[in-house]
């Protein structure tokens, strides 16, 4: 136990990989053993994260549970890990959603071993990004996360999976190129990749020229290199079109993690790297960023409303919701250090967490019905409520969380973002209300087209008879639903940690 408590972050980070290696030793035909091993293995990081959460001291500034190991001494890059309130929330989200995604995958029967190992690898990749305090390590994990997801979509996805996985992979890679170059430049300039040291030295740089160009030009170019990489991941309009394809083609659990955690990597990048490294550039370009965020909010919602594929509808809703995260970040970037900025950032981070819960839930619920009917076409559903009352109730509940109904989690974060952003960018905030209105439209459209309407005879009888959501599936939804309600009623337990982190960070 002593070893674990002093190496808590590395244990959480690498346990999934080790578990993946262990699963490698289980014979491929022992499907049950593989599933259960994977599930239990993913519960360990969750348990440790809860421990991490309870022993975390939100009042302390800086990073906690820091660990540092030699990694690439020649270029002065070290395996430096640590968490603050921001990364802690994301770590908790990741370790929470992974076991749920694995439990959701118990119906997968095809190459289970490879599938589960990829999921565990994915978890390590995502956690690494949230824990990294070294830019190179950050980038390494950033790319590591990409590979398992590519194979999950490409091998276990639905009909158009080749196109979708390729688009996802190449698009993210393309964004990463600029990021890698910018990271290399920082490494060359300062001889270190340590995020904390870089943030301090890079922002207080006094030379007027760098690499033969003026410092401000270099900084602006590097700023955009970072921004584009993260903007594609979030995704911000107009970099968003990979998302509906990737989410729609991915297997259910893949979509859960894609929407639940992978999108947060982009937003996390903004908060961890862009704002601390480029406060001036961020303030200068905040208007543009807010513009793109509002476009994402409005056209994400309109796009969702225009879909006839249930999963694409939910996928577009992610663009809409993540737009609020970026709007909060953009507003905060413009007025860093004010109370309004803190409120906007609180909202943005909480919205990341909340969207993780509701989007994962929505994708799972789409998967539940897709597995039974083998279609996602909204026009073929309708009138299913009497057939699957429990499923229907859960769907309405989760939809309402996604809609931002007061009393559930999404409202709190959207309220904070709107409150913070209104003070800084009233016009963009007012425009974002169009998106908020349309959120209602597409959510109700989803409910209407799936559950309501005259009883659907096709799914009511015989071989097509729709079966009710089962216990395993309810168990996947239960933790999400409880957290959705808990944050809606009493957000202070998580917001307190986020709030203190935001105040100390910015």
């Amino acid at each position: 136990m002593d070893f674990i408590s002093t190496h808590l972050l590395t244990t959480i980070l690498f346990f999934p990989v080790l578990a993946g290696l262990a699963i490698l030793l289980i014979p491929s035909d022992q499907i049950k053993a593989i599933r259960w091993t994977a599930l239990f293995a993913s519960l360990v990081p969750l348990g440790l994260s809860i421990w991490l959460w309870t022993s975390f001291k939100p009042d302390l500034a800086g990073f906690q549970f820091e660990e540092q190991y030699t990694w690439y001494a020649a270029i002065n890059s070290t395996l430096h890990l640590g968490v603050d309130g921001l990364s802690l929330a994301m770590v908790l989200l990741t370790t929470l959603l992974t076991p749920l995604a694995i439990l959701a995958s118990f119906n997968i029967g095809d190459r289970v071993k490879a599938y589960m190992i990829l999921f565990l690898l994915l978890e390590t990749g995502m956690l690494g990004v949230f824990m990294a305090l070294d830019l190179l390590i950050f980038f390494v994990f950033w790319e590591i996360g990409l590979v398992p997801m590519y194979f999950l979509i490409n091998q276990w996805g639905s009909a158009n999976r080749n196109y979708a996985s390729f688009k996802f992979f190449i698009y993210t890679m393309a964004g990463s190129l600029g990021l890698l170059l910018a990271i290399q430049m920082l490494g060359v300039l300062f001889g270190t990749y340590d995020i904390l040291a870089l943030a301090q030295r890079w922002t207080t740089l006094e030379t007027s020229t760098l690499l033969g160009l003026s410092t401000s030009t270099v900084k602006t170019v590097a700023f955009w290199a970072f921004v584009v990489a993260f903007a594609i991941k979030v995704p911000i309009w107009p970099f968003h079109t990979w998302l509906p394809d990737a989410h729609t083609e991915a297997p259910t659990a893949g979509s859960m993690l894609l929407a639940g955690v992978l999108l947060k990597l982009g937003a996390y990048g903004f908060l961890r790297l862009v704002l601390p490294f480029y406060p001036e550039e961020a303030a200068h370009f905040a208007g543009w960023l807010a513009f793109l965020a509002v476009m994402a909010i409005i056209f994400g919602a309109l796009g969702a409303y225009g879909q006839t594929d249930f999963k694409r509808l939910v996928a577009y809703s992610s663009i809409n919701h993540m737009g609020f995260v970026v709007l909060g970040i953009a507003a905060a970037a413009k007025a860093m250090g004010t109370l309004d900025a803190t409120i906007a950032l609180n909202g943005a981070v909480l919205q990341m967490f909340n969207h993780g819960l509701s989007a994962a839930g929505m994708f799972f619920l789409v998967g539940v019905i897709y597995e039974r009917t083998h279609t996602r076409d909204l026009r073929q559903f309708g009138g299913l409520f009497p057939l699957v009352p429990v499923y229907g109730t859960i769907l309405v509940y989760t939809s309402m969380a996604s809609l931002g109904l007061p009393g559930l989690n999404g409202f709190v974060s959207e309220f904070l973002v709107v409150r913070g952003a209104w003070a800084i960018m009233p016009v963009f905030t007012a425009l974002a209300m169009i998106g908020l209105l349309m959120t209602g439209a597409y959510i109700l459209k989803g409910i209407k087209d799936v559950l309501h309407g005259p009883l659907n005879e096709h799914w009511a009888h015989g071989e097509h008879r729709l079966t009710e959501i089962n216990i395993r599936e309810i168990l996947v939804m239960a933790p999400l639903m409880i957290l959705i309600l808990l944050i809606g009623i009493w957000p202070a337990w998580i917001l307190d940690v986020i709030n203190k982190a935001m105040m100390m960070l910015f």
Binding site: L302, L339, T393, P406, L416, P491, D496, K500
Partner: protein, 725 residues
Amino acid sequence: MTTETLIWLLPLPPLLAFFVIVLFTNKNKALSHTIAVGAATLSWLGSMVVFVTTLGVEHFGEHVFNSSLNWLPTGDTFLKIGVLIDPLGAVTLFFVAWTILMIFIYSVGYHNFGQPAGEHDRPGLAPHGATVIDEQGHKHAVLSVEPMYSRFFAFIGLFAFGMYTLVISDNLLTMFVGWEIMGLCSYLLIGFWFAKPSARAAGIKAFMTTRVGDVFMLLGIVYLYWATGTLSFREIFRPEVLSDLAETITPIFGLSAAGLIAILLFIGTIGKSAQWPLHIWLPDAMEGPTPVSAMIHAATMVSAGVYAVLRMFPLLTAGWQGHGLTPEMSVVAFIGTFTAIFAATIALAQNDIKKVLAYSTISQLGFMIAALGMGAYVAAAFHLVTHAFFKALLFLGSGSVIHGMEHGVLHTGNHHLDPQDMMNMGGLRKKMPVTFWTFLMGGLALSGFPLVTAGFWSKDEILADAFAHGHWTILITLSLAALMTAFYTMRQITLTFLGEARTQEAEHAHETPWTMTLPLVILAIFAVSYGWVGIPEQFPGLGGLIPNWFHNFVGATLLEHPEAVAFSWIPLGISLVVALGGLGLGWLVYKDHKAGQPDPLQKAIGPLYLFLQNKWFFDEFYNFFVVKPVIWLSAVFTSLWMDKGLIDGILHFIAKTPIWIGDFLRNKFDKPFINEFIGDGTAAVFQKAGHELRYTQTGRIQSYLIVSASFLIVLAAVLAYLFLA
């Protein structure tokens, strides 16, 4: 237990009932309604205790019940939420508790508890009736129990939670939470019979239309929060905060910050209280079960919109000097007045018993909004309370009528007959006496029948206020609206209850069970007597016999207690004329109406009747100018043109560029130049050369010597030329 603790607890029983029914008891109908009604009773009891306690507090306006706690950490500070019962809250709590409890009880009978399940009934559709065989072997068609009985009680439980939360809130945030939860319940309950496409569409229409108002309201809330740093009413309404807000000028139409916030919040009310131009959802909302119409769309949720303006009254009137109207007040007054007359005209031409009431509700809410716009705070609050009682009564009465008619429908077996169409009724007073007498009392209250009904006192006060402050346009418009109100109310009563039955079904209508009639009786008592708590002191004869409790009590909510307006015969005369005139005219026109005849009004006003019957064509207007463009914008513009066409087009172009470059390099450079010219070309040259040179390899020594000798000669010649020359 302190009163504050009790107030905190008020919303909880219905919420618990909701969770218990959804999670555990939804299979058991009796247990579910017991839990729900029990919870409503508990909240009612608590509310009565709180209400009575407030009566005993000296200068209650200053010594209110208030307690709050930290909810959201925001930087170094917290956003606080809490509960508040002040005089306005107390009177609202009173009518909310009563109407909610009555409607819960009524729902038991309305959903046919105790009746058998119908053979063809299925969840999502209203019950069709069941067949029972009595001892003699005769088959009888009887009403059947609602298949989703438990779910209904769960939903109204959640709704009650929302309404209680709204009333006890001391801040805009939890008020908004309650507001939106009610919006959700309204959506779920309007679409309760979701298998019916019209009900499904009506639910969505209600949610979306009110959401238009809600997003503006949210902006108003964040604006207010930003400008004042708090959302608690009592913090906002401190004079220095209000005067700050009133003096800050915004760039939008030159409104003050207070005015802009008030208007943003008021747009929320326009949606929630179904004011023009966002009124379109309320008539469609009648698709829901009738207790829902009574509770949500008459007594509580739509009242919440007016309640919100009452709450925000100090903000709305910040900077008002007491004469003339500020721009924001003019907006409010205009919307209210116009809605009052506009909805009344539509109500004239509706035949559906619930639709008449729906438009009447819109119109009456317009009266209250108009009163608030004029600054008549107490009059608006008074009309809010009396209206809640008599309109809940009328809706429940109409539900009872429909129920009675359904009896008749089951008896005759003619399922094509619309049991809600008043043209199919007539003469029901004899079949359904309790329903008739209570409905009559409600109808008279709505019409403002003098002296004995509550509606008279509250409506009269609004007119008196308009007169006293010289708002002539408002006075005339509202008087006309009141005339129409009396007319369509009498039209409704006459068509439904008086005269002779116009159909077989009306002939066989039947009085409803006690669970439905008891709430009618109780609400009827309030519909009559509640007016007596607010009789103006100078009223001839009656004034001063009972103190004007309502004015003194509710008026004390405001820091500056409003003055009661001076008595004048003119508005009273108008009140009397429009009420009695409208009632009399309605009776004269419709008393001899026979089955199959066209509406006499149609003859009188011709094409205008069609215009009114079609609700001024607002639905068509919105459908063409809002709904269709939005669908095009999302399905075609965003999804096809922008995302799939433009953005993906650019991406695919970028993705194809390397392929094109690769193709080009391969087909135009690699293949012809490298492969064919250099690669294959070199080989071909050597091959060709080898092939040709083969002929020199003859194998004869003479030939080789000749070649060698020739070569040597040529070489010598070349060398000689190079070196010697």
